[in-house]
């Protein structure tokens, strides 16, 4: 296994001591001391309640925290060397930590976790996010049971979240993955998920990690790899998800990790997605995904302003990317006042598809293409917020469904652009 070289000696020694496990919980961190203490205790509870007899381990892949994050995690291990622990457990539970080389990247962290899972021959694994404050012990079972008992290979989460939370997912990633790959996976890019040892090994072995694949999040790559390689995928409802605190500047890196990865994948997966038509539901366990409808203050004005500025300042860039008709439409709506402003679904879909095609052809530097999408996305968010500001959960769901159907309907358009100038 060539991946053995990429783990440190010390970590390997720790893995030797842990030995073969049935269940592995991976936790990628970087300076998460604020929340990770309670989160890892919750994870431990989840393991002890849901899988008391199984051999389990918690693996922390840390990017070099300076705030004591790894120590908080390793302190939850249960072993007889520290018998003062008040927690009752049938077995020893190891919680080990390693610092991976290089700058903190979720891709490298996940690769470390996958490598450890393979070495320990874990049957079922989950990756948890150190930022999910609303986690409960049941989340562990919800993600592990389908893999451990029902033979699924990938378990993506679904949440009960605010209707305006996760709009990149609902307005782009979910509909596009659905339209192109034919699977209705609500959270294809997921902070926490479950996977089988089989899928982990295959993904680890298949990828050429030196090509910089690990640099931008591999979560979406994992989902797409599972779908394209015929692994069994399902969704599991976890619970409420609180919106994570975000800064405006985080949008571009987020786009890189999601849209960038998706656009790259389209190239290698062309044979599969070009042959798919329509979409199918994936097996889903757990209860409702009803949206939270509490009022949420949104700075709509700024969203529109950034869209307008983007369209005007970046016109020269857009001209290389989108078609002339799309360009003129964008300029037209940029000229509308706040009341009339609307970035309709069809235009949005066309925009996204044209971006995808431009990405493929590398009309300009690919990273610049992704960056250019940001202001347009904001415009779309504005429209979505306005359209759904007073809608019921059902209305919002229908709205999203409508957008998905639009993505599916315009798929031939993408194919056409893709094939031209081959």
């Amino acid at each position: 296994m060539e991946d053995g070289n990429f783990l440190t000696d010390d970590f390997l020694r720790q893995l030797i001591n842990v030995g073969e496990v049935d269940i592995l919980v991976g936790l990628p961190t970087h300076n998460n001391a604020r929340n990770v203490g309670s989160i890892v205790h919750t994870i431990r509870d989840g393991i002890l309640r849901g899988f008391p007899r199984e051999r389990a381990v918690i693996i922390n892949a840390d990017g070099g925290s300076r705030d004591g994050t790894p120590e908080l995690i390793t302190s939850v291990s249960i072993d007889d060397a520290r018998p003062a622990s008040s927690v009752y457990a049938l077995r020893t539970l190891h919680a080990i930590s390693t610092k991976y080389a290089g700058t903190p990247h979720s891709g490298v962290a996940l690769r470390t976790i996958l490598a450890a899972a393979e070495l320990l021959r874990a049957k079922a694994c989950i990756v948890m996010s150190p930022e999910s404050e609303s986690i409960t012990p049941e989340w562990v079972s919800s993600l592990l049971r389908p893999v451990y008992y029902d033979g699924f290979d990938l378990v993506t989460p679904t949440y009960r979240r605010h209707k305006f939370d996760g709009l990149l997912m609902t307005n782009l990633l979910y509909p596009m993955v659905r339209a192109l790959y034919g699977v209705r996976i609500r959270e294809a890019y997921m902070p926490e998920f479950g996977f089988s040892g089989r899928l982990g090994s295959e993904f680890l072995g298949k990828n050429r990690w030196n090509d910089g694949i690990g640099e931008n999040g591999i979560e979406l790559s994992l989902t797409l790899a599972a779908v394209t390689s015929g692994f069994r995928v399902c969704q599991s409802f976890l619970g409420k998800k609180d919106p994570v605190e975000r800064h405006a500047a985080d949008l571009v890196p987020t786009l890189r990790q999601t849209v960038g990865v998706l656009f790259s994948a389209l190239e290698s997966d062309f044979e599969l997605w070009s042959a798919v038509s329509g979409s199918k539901e994936v097996s889903t366990t757990g209860s409702d995904q009803e949206l939270v409808l509490d009022p949420l203050r949104v700075n709509r004005k700024r969203l529109r302003e950034m869209f307008v500025r983007g369209v005007s300042e970046l016109e020269s860039v857009f001209q290389s990317i989108v078609s002339p008709s799309t360009m003129s439409e964008l300029k037209r709506i940029a000229g509308l006042g706040e009341e009339e402003f609307s970035y309709p679904a069809e235009l949005w879909v066309r925009t996204v598809y044209e971006f995808a095609a431009a990405y493929r052809k590398s009309v300009i530097n690919r990273d610049h293409i992704i960056q250019a999408l940001a202001p347009l996305f904001r415009g779309r968010v504005f429209t979505f917020v306005v359209e759904n500001r007073s809608g019921s959960a059902n209305d919002v769901a229908n709205n999203i469904e409508g957008l998905c159907l639009e993505f599916e309907r315009l798929k031939p358009y993408l194919l056409e652009m893709w094939k031209s100038k081959e």
Binding site: N17, D80, L90, R91
Partner: protein, 548 residues
């Protein structure tokens, strides 16, 4: 032997005890039931095995409604097993071979067929009336639990003869003696004296927590009970120094501690909670259950000793474990529900471990090296099997298998006359598992047991030394140091079915060479780095540490 007993008052710390049913061991007179004569004929075998004491199950005259624990005459032996003369002869022969003899003594109650009870119940004015606990109502001592919940609904039973209730903590045909009566105490001491004068080396005292009753208590472990026991011990020490008292009390170690007193009550007590955890640790492939229970075990006075065992005549009790642990043990060791009895599993050692020689050895290694005096259940030294169809706990009390021939060499009688059928399945049956063929095979379990007993006897550190656990990160290995004076022994066990590598922190012993105790070969010297050992599946190492 008795004249030597002064020399080594702590002989029980170094002892290796062999638990045996007279009835099941060997038949000397051809009537199909084992007896003292037969047992005496096999003392050479026991001497060869290397054990140093035998513990005999109850052999007193008894209606046998509770397997001999319902005694009808304390001063004699059951005719099926022979006569008192036979017993004396057995005692002498054993002592000549350096084997001590421990017998049962039931203090708490007698059989209702005992003449004392017959007299006591005959009338309210009988002199022995007060020897038992009587009451006109059945409402006294309300807070006392019932032990045999399946069969008894109350601790009081109605006696139609004397028209009153009598107290019984066990079966209704086992009335409790009244220890508030000094006559009873004196009489019971006299009973013990008889056997002590005969030469018996120790008693296993059955059901000791229940001697005394007091209103508004649970009638267990009362201070008065302890006083009586202390008194008994004092008289024993004064008149028969060097004899031993072993307590049978199925309690948590912390609750057992009072029975050691200040070295003024029992010499030994069974460590019940450790045994199921050894089995659990083996299945989990994790040492945690074992180290934790020993960590929770309190310190006992230097002259006292725990008694360790793997199996015995009863079911493998799961009373002293949590519900999760019990479910786990049932699912792992007793998938066949008919093997579950009360709160335990009624199987012998070898069938529990699927006849896996390596695991049998590993369990015996732990038995022989953990702190305490080991007790071997008869037949387990050759890996005998059990007969579940015999019901209750009789499946583990089948005749000892001596040869592959007639009645497995147990008896010359007709097979139908045997007190119980001999095991004859292809795996554990007497043609496959018997003493004779194992003696001829160098690699047999019997010879292995001989060797490990010999190694254990080669050093006092096992019976008398301290224990210190090492906690290597590899939780599948159980490693500990036994120390006595300047002697240090390191035991490392692999609880897993797969080969393991383990690094031990032996920095304190830097410079010591390790000498493996079975082959006496040298292992590398301890240096600054963690000491790396690799072990095969279920393998263990015994090392003597020597500074050269």
């Amino acid at each position: 032997m008795n004249s030597n007993s002064n020399k080594d008052a702590l002989w029980y710390k170094d002892a290796i005890i062999y638990q045996v049913h007279v009835r099941a061991f060997h038949d000397g007179n051809g009537d199909g039931i084992g007896d003292f004569l037969g047992l005496e004929q096999k003392l050479d075998y026991l001497q060869e095995l290397g054990i140093t004491a035998i513990w005999l199950m109850p052999f007193f005259p008894s209606p046998l409604r509770d397997d001999g624990y319902d005694i009808a005459d304390y001063n004699s032996v059951h005719p099926s097993y022979g006569t008192l003369e036979h017993f004396r002869k057995l005692l002498d022969s054993a002592h000549q071979r350096g084997i001590r003899v421990i017998i049962e003594m039931v203090l708490n109650h007698t059989s209702d067929q005992h003449p004392w009870f017959q007299e006591a119940r005959s009338s309210q004015n009988n002199p022995r009336r007060d020897w038992y606990v009587w009451s006109d109502t059945d409402t006294r001592y309300k807070n006392t639990r019932i032990i045999f919940l399946d069969t008894e609904k109350s601790n009081w039973a109605w006696d139609p003869t004397s028209k009153s209730f009598y107290w019984h903590r066990f079966f209704s045909h086992q009335p409790d003696l009244n220890y508030d009566n000094p006559e009873v105490r004196e009489q019971m001491w006299n009973v013990m004296k008889v056997w002590l004068e005969m030469g018996v080396d120790g008693f296993r005292l059955d059901a000791v927590p229940y001697l005394v009753e007091r209103e508004d208590t649970n009638c267990e472990n009362l201070p008065e009970t302890h006083s009586i026991l202390k008194e008994l011990r004092l008289r024993l020490d004064q008149n028969f120094p060097g004899r031993m008292l072993l307590a049978e009390a199925n309690q948590w170690p912390a609750d057992l501690r009072p029975y050691f007193g200040d070295s003024d009550e029992f010499h030994m007590a069974f460590h019940f909670p450790l045994m199921p955890r050894m089995f659990m640790g083996l299945k989990l492939e994790d040492r945690k259950p074992i180290t934790e229970i020993l960590h929770q075990t309190p310190e006992i006075p230097p002259s006292c000793q725990w008694s360790l065992f793997l199996r015995n005549h009863d079911e493998l009790t799961l009373e002293m474990v949590t519900d999760i642990e019990r479910d786990y043990m049932y699912d792992m060791y007793a998938q066949d529900k008919t093997t579950r009895l009360n709160l335990g599993i009624r199987r012998r050692l070898a069938p529990l471990l699927n006849n896996d020689r390596r695991r049998i050895e590993l369990m015996n290694v732990m038995l022989m090296s953990l702190p305490g005096t080991p007790i071997i259940y008869y037949g387990d030294e050759i890996g005998m099997g059990d007969n579940i169809s015999l019901g209750d706990r009789n499946g583990v009390r089948t005749p000892m298998q001596w040869t592959g021939g007639w009645n497995a060499g147990f008896s010359t009688a007709e097979p139908e006359k045997l007190y119980a059928p001999i095991i004859h399945d292809p795996v554990y049956g007497y043609p496959a598992v018997n003493v004779t063929s194992q003696k001829e095979c160098e690699h047999s379990l019997f010879h292995w047991m001989r060797r490990i007993i010999a190694v254990r006897k080669s050093s006092a550190v096992f019976g008398r030394g301290s224990i210190e656990f090492l906690y290597p990160v590899n939780h599948r290995t159980l490693a500990y140091l036994r120390q006595l004076g300047s002697e240090t022994v390191l035991i490392v066990n692999n609880l897993s079915s797969a080969a393991q590598a383990v690094e031990l922190d032996l920095r304190r012993y830097k410079g010591n060479v390790l000498i493996e105790m079975f082959g006496n070969n040298l292992f590398p010297r301890v240096g600054d780095l963690p000491y790396l050992l690799t072990l095969g599946p279920y393998q263990s190492y015994w090392f003597r540490l020597r500074r050269v």
